[in-house]
Each structure stands twice: as C-alpha cells, then as structure tokens.
C-alpha cells in the first residue's frame, strides 16, 4: 500500500533546475561538479513532512523539460495538488515557458495550487548582470494568477525548504479539515483506482 497525500509536480523549461531543486530538498545535496543530466520522462520522489500534529507524505514528480514530453505532461500533473513552475533567473526565455505551463494548469487542473520558483539565485547574487528576469515582473505576474513566488538556490539551499513547507501548509489548510472525515479519500490504496482518485478530487 502506497500512501501519497500530496501530489506535487515540477514543471518548467529544460535546464531550469527542477532536478537540482528536488535533490536539494530530498537528499540535501547539490552536484555542481557533475555534468548536466537531463531528466528522461519523469522521476518520482517521496518525502514525509511533519507539520505540528500532522504528518503528510508528499509525492513529487520531477518532469523532463524537453519539449517532446509536453504532449504527455498530463500523465504527470493530473491530480496534482500543487505545481512548482520553475524558471531560470539567468534565462529570460524560461519565464516565457512559465506562462505556457500556468495556462495549461489553469485549463486542465483548476484546483492545482501554483508556485512560481525562480532558480539559480546564487548566480544572480554573485553577479547582478546575470539576472535576466526582473523581480517585479515576476511578482506582478504571480499576483495576477494568484500564485506564490519563491526565488531559490539549490546550490546554497536558500528558500528550498521554505518552498516545500509552504506548499505542505497550504495543502493542509485547504484540504485537511481538523476532523478526519475526508482523509479516506487521500489514501492511494488499490492500484486500479488511482486515476479515479485523481479525477474525482
């Protein structure tokens, strides 16, 4: 029996730092010295998080940014309660992709909470010239679509934990009532029912 309470999906342009973000969060490491490895399909990771009196298991899907997987991305974001849409602070085109993903989510996954995440903050802190995406443009956009905004560095770990904790807390506030009546729905028990679970909620 596999329990995932909170399905989170990472989306965004390739080389946008999704895998590094997840690895920093799950294993607390960062491989700056290794050559870039693009994700194939999607990788899955799970982590338990303790919030006051509640424990939640997060199932996090790290999707491939390559364009050819876009047609299949539904497999990964369907039924997600939260989406982290990543963009590379040093790559202006990556923010264009953010809009694509946000539109896609608004269209097909209305209930999914959206978190914008600017990555590689350490690079822009080192050298201001590196920043290709204006901070206020992103905050304006986040307000417009009703999303939370984070700027993270997987290298230093800045804001990474905060991001996931925020997601977990928002999830608890939104979906977990203080009485435990609805909890049953969130348990993934029998294999065949997964899709029904995703669609019905």
């Amino acid at each position: 029996m596999k329990r995932v309470d909170l399905k989170i999906v990472l989306l965004g342009k390739e080389y946008g730092g999704k895998t590094s973000l997840l690895e920093r969060y799950l294993y607390d490491h960062f491989h700056g010295d290794l050559p870039y490895q693009n994700t194939i399909g999607a990788a899955f990771g799970a982590k338990k998080i303790q919030l006051d009196d509640k424990q939640i298991t997060m199932g996090i899907w790290d999707t491939a940014g390559s364009e050819r997987y876009e047609a299949m991305s539904k497999i990964y974001y369907r039924g997600a309660k939260a989406a982290i849409v990543c963009y590379d602070l040093t790559d202006s085109s990556s923010f264009e992709r953010v809009k694509f993903w946000v539109d896609e989510l608004k269209k097909f996954e209305e209930d999914c909470m959206i978190y914008l995440c600017g990555t590689k903050k350490d690079l822009v802190q080192e050298d201001r010239q590196c920043r290709k995406i204006d901070y206020h443009t992103t905050t304006d956009y986040a307000d417009e679509i009703g999303a939370n905004l984070f700027e993270t560095s997987s290298k230093t770990g800045e804001c990474v934990r905060e991001l996931f904790t925020q997601i977990a807390m928002d999830f608890v506030n939104k979906y977990v009532p203080s009485s435990k009546e609805k909890n049953e729905d969130l348990i993934l028990e029998s294999p065949g029912k997964k899709s029904t679970f995703c669609c019905s909620s």
Binding site: M1, K2, V4, E14, T19, E23, L34, Q37, N38, T39, I40, G41, A42, A43, F44, G45, D62, A64, G65, S66, E67, R68, Y69, A71, M72, K74, I75, Y76, L188, P191, K194, S195
Partner: protein
Amino acid sequence: MATASCKSLEDSETARESEEETEIPKDFEPGASSESILISIDLYEEVENSPGSVYEDVSYRRRKSTICELERSAGKRVLAEEQVETSKSFDDKSQDGQLKAEIGHDESIRIKNSPNVEPIRIEMESIQMSSDEEKHEIIETAEDIHNPEWKQHSKHIFILSEAGKPIYSRFGSEDKLVTLMGVMQALVSIVQDNGDVIRSIHAGDHKFVFLVRLPLILVAVANTNASAPQLVVQLNCVYNLILSVLTSTQLCSIFEQRRNYDLRRLLGGAEKFLDNLVDTMDSDPSFLLVAVRCLPLTSAIRDTISQSIVQYCSKVKNVVFAILVAKNQLVTIVRMKKYSLHPSDLHLVMNLVNSSDSFKAAESWTPICLPKFDSSGFLHAHVSYLDDNCPACLLLLTVDKNLFFTLQECRRKIVERLHRYNCLEAINASLESEGYSVSEVGLPDLRHFIYKSKSAAQFTEPRLEAPYVSNEDQSNLFGLYQYLHHRMYNSARPLKILFYVGQKEIMLSWHMAGFELYAAFEPMVTKFTAVNTMNKLVRWIKKEEDRLFIMNAPTI
C-alpha cells in the same frame, strides 16, 4: 535476399569442407532453447523489410497496432488521449495524401520498399571540391566542415529532413553543416527524380551510405572496416532510435503539418542517446549480429531472478515486458505470453539506460516506443536501479500510463526477494569478473571469439585480453570481425567457412544452420588446427550454455 542464398548454399561444396573435419551435427546450436526470449532475425532482413517511409509505417500500424491490441485485451476502451488525437489528425491527412497505399499484407510492402536498384558508384569530386574551395576563407574554432579535426573522424552520422534541414550530426554543430546537408539532400533527390534510390557512394577508403526513411534522410560517412550494408544497418538503428523517442505517428504528423519543421526542438535532450548509440556501434558486436549479450550467471540464480519477477508482475495486469539489464548485458526478460521482444528494440532499451545517469538518481516513469514492437505508440516504463550498490537496472514496461504506483510496489517486492536470495551479490560478482577469460576454454591458439546462437538471438564472447589491450588493437580486432561478417554475408557470394590470414592474427569464421562463430587465432596457426579448435570451442560453449545464455523464456 542474402540469407536465402546463404541457406541454399549449405548443401553445396563449401559445406563439405566442414563435414570432413568435424562431427558436429548440422543443426547443432549451443545456447538454443525450445522457446526463445527474443525474436530471431537475420541481419539484412530487418532493413529490407522496413518501410521506406514513416507514412507507410503509420498506415500499416493503424491497421495492426500491438499496443491497441493489448489495450483492447485489457478491456480498456479509451485509448491514451494523445494517441487518439494524433491518429485523428493523421486520418484526415492521409485521405488526400499520396500514400493511400492499398497494401493488403506484408508482402506487398516489402516489394514496394526494395526496389531493384544496383548500388551506384559516383566519384566524389564534386563534394570534395566544394569543401576545398571554401577552405581558405574561414577557420572556425568549433568543429565544422572546414576544421581538419572534423574531417579526421573515422565515422560521421548525419540526419536531415526530407527538406534538407539538419537534424543531427555526430560531430560538429548542425547549424554549421547546413550546406553540407543541403548537398546530401540534393544527391538523394537527384537520384529520386530518376525513379531510383541512392544507396551508397564509394570514394577511395570512404563510403557514403544513404538510408532514406521519409521524412528523414540518414547518411553515414565512414572510412572504417564497416561495409556499406553494415552501415545501412547502423543507420537503421539510428532511425529506430528516433522512432523510440518520437513514435512514427508523431514523426509523421509533424512533417505532414510542417514540411520545414526543425526536428531538433523535439529531440532536445535525446542527442546523448544518439551519440551513445553511434559510438557503441563501433565496438559492440550486438548491432552487427542483431543479438544480445547476456550476463553470465548460473542457471539457478537466473531462474530465481526470473521467478521473482514473474511472481510479482503476474499479479499486475498489463505488464508487457520486464527487463533486467546490467552494464549493457541482459540478465533476464520476462514477457507477456504471445509477445516477444525484438533484439533491436532491446538494444534501444539498453542504450537508453546506458546513455543517462539520471535513472540512477531516482525511479523514473518514462514513455518509450519500441519500434519493432509497435512504432505507433508509447509504452510506459518504470525504470529503477535495483540498489545503490548494484548497477543492474530493472525496466517494467506497460501499456497503462496510470500504473506507476502499482509498479513501484511491484518493483519493491521484487528487489526484496532478490535480496533475500542473494541475487544482487551474484550479479555483482559476475559483473566484477567482467565475463570470462578465453583461457577458461583451454584452447591455447585461440585468442578471442564471438559466438551467436541464431534462434536465441544471443551471443557470447570472452573479455578482451592481451594482445587486445589498447583501444587501437581492440578496434582493429572489431574491424576484422566486421570484415569477416561482411564476407560471410556477401549477397553475391555468401560463405560458410572463411579462413583469413591477417597481419597480426588469423581469423576464422564459420556459419552453420544454428550458429555463427567468428574467432581470432595466433598468427602461426594452421588451417587444420584452427578448424579443429573451432570444433572444440563449439563443444565447450555447449557445455557452458546454461551459464552463458538465457535458456528459459519465462512468461506472465
């Protein structure tokens, strides 16, 4: 064609030679079992039977899609949404397209695609001139056509679209090779205008080999030992890799909508699969033989592994194949009854695992198309390494895209059971010993060999040892194997036994009904000794077959 004539020759004079000196029965085949895990295929059959364009392939698959069949049998009415969409858009298009192709069955497809074209020989002056002319103009730092280093590479592989747009080049940047690719496209279309198909151009040591698989054109330029037909086989593998990433349905609809599409956008991140495949083919006999290398394991261990997979996968509906590979070697395959895996599909799976470290970090859920199984759609693969300390990678392939968590659980139980029976240690031990030494065979004049069981589509070879230590020596040896293989399969004069005196070694190859054997001997060995040694070698392989080959074909 080559294979047919090869078989007919078995009874003729060359066959006599082997009978005189051996008592090996005609159908002797170490490594063969009653039921094979893989589809057995002769070398050039694959290329000859492949459709010449993806459009034909798609129209064929629309009638006969294995994935649809599986989905139907699983009682699923609704197809994957993506598939419906793409095939719908194709439906509309194919109505007025040229390729209505009223092909009733396989046969006519084959006829259509193998026009009786004699290979053309063209002197390559024109191309060389054009590159010489511009030579003095600019010297670029990046590798491009003007760069001497770029020219030094012994094998180039290019992929371009029908419209001449660059898609891939093994070396250099495609953008800088636009003009070169334009020339290639022109060559293809000039010959096409005459109702012919260009196959190859031979210029000195260089072979320019073309494979037209519309909407793609694949070109190999090589001065290696690989023969033109062998290079075609390699190009076909590359083409299959593109299909495995995109599916024929997608490839077809993209170019139908936009003939000028830049396919590199969709192949983003797949370059390393291509690079790895193209590199591997220069040293790995798998592709030459259309066979798979197995990890040597005692049959007891291998059976335990297979049984563990069967035990848990049989409880999950819709698992089509469960494949366990370790460092480019096959540990086992468990398959759904009725369905077999084609060796070249398995090569693509292994290539996928080898080209990327990203599977090591976390379990993945990825779409993959196996072109020989069904080029029209994706299977979904749960990919995970068994353990941090074991480089064996388990792939569970299914038609159901919602099965991830079920397979995750299934995989957990499999790994648990493998741990319990110490299978991981056995796999590691076999990997660490790097196969076996040729000295274990106990035949002093024998340096190295490659043996393929035809019906099993599996091969075995000892590890490369002295004198084949340096990369250069190793690739020379592989070149000799390529040469032998080419001579044996020469369609004009297929051979049964070939004794070849090389510069540093003596080579012998031997084809029987059931097997292919290629071997390298000490340079002073006599023909008589060499042939005798081959006989003993085959008997040794027979003795060891349980360990060297996968003899059981477990199903779920």
